[in-house]
Subunit: 229 residues, 2 copies
């Protein structure tokens, strides 16, 4: 039987998985909301982010209480500190899903995404959701190989991001500046969301191997120029 | 005389101030680089971000070692955990300054910022640098009133961000889509940079008062719509 201490540690891990599931669902629903121009769904996502924030507060409070009471060292200490970081990544992912939903709400009843970018944004949304589902699985399984897979998925996201920018700077772009601004921000939201999912997985690698998978923050520079200037 | 433990704690605080100074300088220089189209300066900022990352690694390692060795409780525990978060904010601010510099490099020898937005971007850059200087001062002084001031400065940043978007969606915009994309991303970088500076200051408030100044992540929704659609 596990002692109270390790049960507490486990429950922090479960809290992280709950957060990952919530923000995974949020990005999926936010994507539907922006593609379909669904105001109610957008509002549900915006409202739902409070639950993510609550989970994070709760999880942080428990992690800090555990540090104070149990004074873990070595691996256990690393788990708690890393959990704090993961919860910050997940909270931020929730914010980004919320940004997508807010853009849907802002443009309602119009749609922020023009028809010829529908498929690309749909793919970005689906990929983001898959990345987060895998990140949740990595938290549970501590599977380092699966964690490494997320990097490849993230390459796919970068590719989609480039596709988006190619559309934007194409001479045939006919949707005006405001839509270009919206699409630029949307692209950035998905891309950052994916970065946070990757960061969560990498932090698990760090826990398992004791080594930084490299240092996360894989973040982009402006991709416009890759094909553009 | 202070004991070794508190000296170590102080040195973590000093590390945070060093980071804040570096990333404050970085955003100032990145702004000059993008406004002047100065490739060498842009490259110096990009290169200089490594130093920020090193400082963060070093600071984190020391914080975790301190947790393991000294097992602080109560206030001291809070200081160490909060320091970890502040270092993450500062590291991320450094990334954002680097993004500005990378955009300058990408567009060189052209300039990313059209003449009629020069003044606005300059103001955003200066304000970002001032915000970070104040955040550094807050770390040193633990001055809660000064920390609260940063929120007002951040309102100013939001205002500048709106001005930027007003220019973008103005019918007279003549700079094409690529420049619109660049300016959209630039606006987002400065705005996020400011958010992180505010978050650092708020975390000091939390340390001093034990209360979350509210929960940070003041983050924007797309401001385009505020005056736009």
């Amino acid at each position: 039987m596990r002692d109270a201490y390790h049960e507490e540690l486990d429950s922090i891990g479960e809290g992280l998985v709950d957060m990952a599931r919530l923000v995974g669902s949020a990005i999926g629903r936010a994507t539907t909301a922006i593609l379909d121009g669904d105001l109610k769904l957008a509002e549900a996502v915006i409202e739902g982010d409070k639950k993510v924030d609550e989970l994070q507060h709760d999880l942080e409070a428990r992690a800090i209480a555990l540090l104070a009471r149990q004074q873990p060292v070595a691996t256990d200490l690393r788990i708690v500190v890393t959990s704090l970081r993961m919860s910050a990544d997940l909270e931020r992912s929730g914010d980004l899903a919320q940004h997508v939903a807010k853009l849907a709400r802002l443009r309602f009843p119009a749609r922020a995404v023009p028809q010829d970018l529908y498929a690309t944004i749909l793919e970005m949304g689906q990929l983001a959701q898959r990345l987060m589902a895998k990140a949740a699985e990595v938290i549970v399984s501590k599977d380092v190989d699966l964690a490494m897979q997320l990097e490849q998925d993230d390459d796919e996201m970068d590719l989609l991001h480039r596709t988006l920018f190619q559309h934007l700077i194409d001479d045939r772009w006919q949707h005006g500046i405001e839509t270009a601004v919206d699409v630029t921000l949307l692209g950035r939201y998905y891309e950052r969301y994916a970065d946070h999912a990757v960061a969560v997985a990498k932090r698990v690698v760090y826990l398992v191997t004791g080594e930084h998978a490299d240092e996360l923050q894989p973040d982009i520079q402006p991709v416009t120029g890759v094909e553009g200037a």
